[in-house]
Amino acid sequence: MNAGLRDLVYIALFAAVTAVLGLAPKIDVGPVPISAQSMGPMLAGAILGARAGASSQAVFLALVAAGLPLLSGGRGGLGVFGTPSVGYLIAFPIAAFVIGALVERVWSRLTFPTAFAITLLGGVGVIHLLGVIGWALTLYLGGATTFAAAVTAAVIGDLVFLPGDMAKAFLAASAAMFVKRGYPLIGR
């Protein structure tokens, strides 16, 4: 009977999970750091499903915007959405939604390879696509370069994340399979 409330608590839980991932050490390679936080949307989508998963990431972003220092390195505030990180951040709820929707579709026959493919598609594909767009736009609107140069710079900058993000997708997929076996939520 508390299904509605339960979802609220799960949403809060995964917003907090994304925040806690920000405590893992980050590496600064350019204006966008290498961090563990994009595992948040992958886990949220794969474990909670599309709607609750996306909501949890939206809540996370709202708290960041409200000024809480929940991004890796203790950053936060509206200012963050003016940096090249903006596209990646906005992609968090969208990625969670895409992953959740796909996982819900194949739930009963979900295996690790499928789960990995889905976290790669949503957690790396979607996030990097929007991330590059956001990055290029901030560079371009910052007035420094031509649009083509901005896109090139963003794409090159983005490539650094690929190895780490594939590892994150792998970890998220295995954690999701672990939870599916030990405490399945989506198939309820």
Partner: protein, 223 residues
């Protein structure tokens, strides 16, 4: 045998254990004391999960600081909360987690699990999701998951918490049947009444040490 030599430990500058020197070689030792008196911290020092900020803990003569993995192999620990201790999704996988870490092949681990499940009449639970077991069953699982590693000493933190009479008796039976040295942390004074020795913790110090009956009495008077 475990030796503590002038051991102190603090969390964020607040002392949790103060200058403890002890030799533990009785077979069954009970540990009692108020909430926050340092009992769990003491337990974690014994197998090197926590390294003392001052002093040394020696397990069979070797410092936990020098060889933590050896200490953890010799001293098993059953934690206060079973939820934190179940690390794999099913009963079978959780039981084989320890042996696999210790270098057992999958086949060897499976053999050990088989034997243990048979010995405790648990074959039926083999593939069950571990987190869906009842409170009492979870506690038993965490106990078995440590027993399967055959440590020389086992530390139990609150083994009887929220168990019913039957599980209580079952767990107590398992404890009594163990050949190993056992160190039991508890708020249940009856549980340790027949033990060889009892330690009373008070504000991070050993405030009582000796015969369980008199140590328990001292605790009850102070409370």
């Amino acid at each position: 045998m475990i030796d503590l030599q002038g051991v102190s430990h603090a969390f964020d500058g607040v002392a949790a254990l103060r200058d403890i020197t002890l030799r533990l070689d009785e077979r069954r030792i009970g540990v009692i004391g108020a909430n926050g008196s340092g009992k769990t911290t003491f337990g974690r020092l014994l197998n090197g999960l926590l390294l003392p900020q001052r002093g040394e803990v020696l397990v069979d003569g070797v410092s936990t600081r020098a060889d933590g993995r050896r200490a953890r192999r010799l001293v098993g620990m059953v934690f206060q909360s079973p939820d934190h201790q179940i690390v794999m999704p099913t009963v079978e996988e959780d039981l084989s987690f320890g042996p696999r870490n210790m270098g057992a092949s999958p086949a060897e681990a499976a053999r050990l699990v088989d034997r243990l499940l048979r010995e405790y009449g648990w074959e039926g639970k083999r593939r069950q999701p571990a987190h869906l077991l009842s409170g009492g069953e979870k506690k038993l699982l965490t106990l078995l998951s440590v027993i399967i590693m055959e440590p020389k000493v086992i530390v139990f933190d609150e083994p009887l918490n929220s168990l019913d009479l039957r599980s209580r008796r079952k767990v107590m039976g398992v404890l009594d049947g163990l050949a190993q040295q056992t160190i039991v942390i508890t708020h249940d004074l009856d549980l340790i009444a027949g033990y060889d020795r009892a330690l009373l913790f008070e504000g991070g110090r050993v405030a009582g040490d000796g015969d369980p009956r008199s140590v328990a009495q001292r605790y009850a008077e102070g409370a």
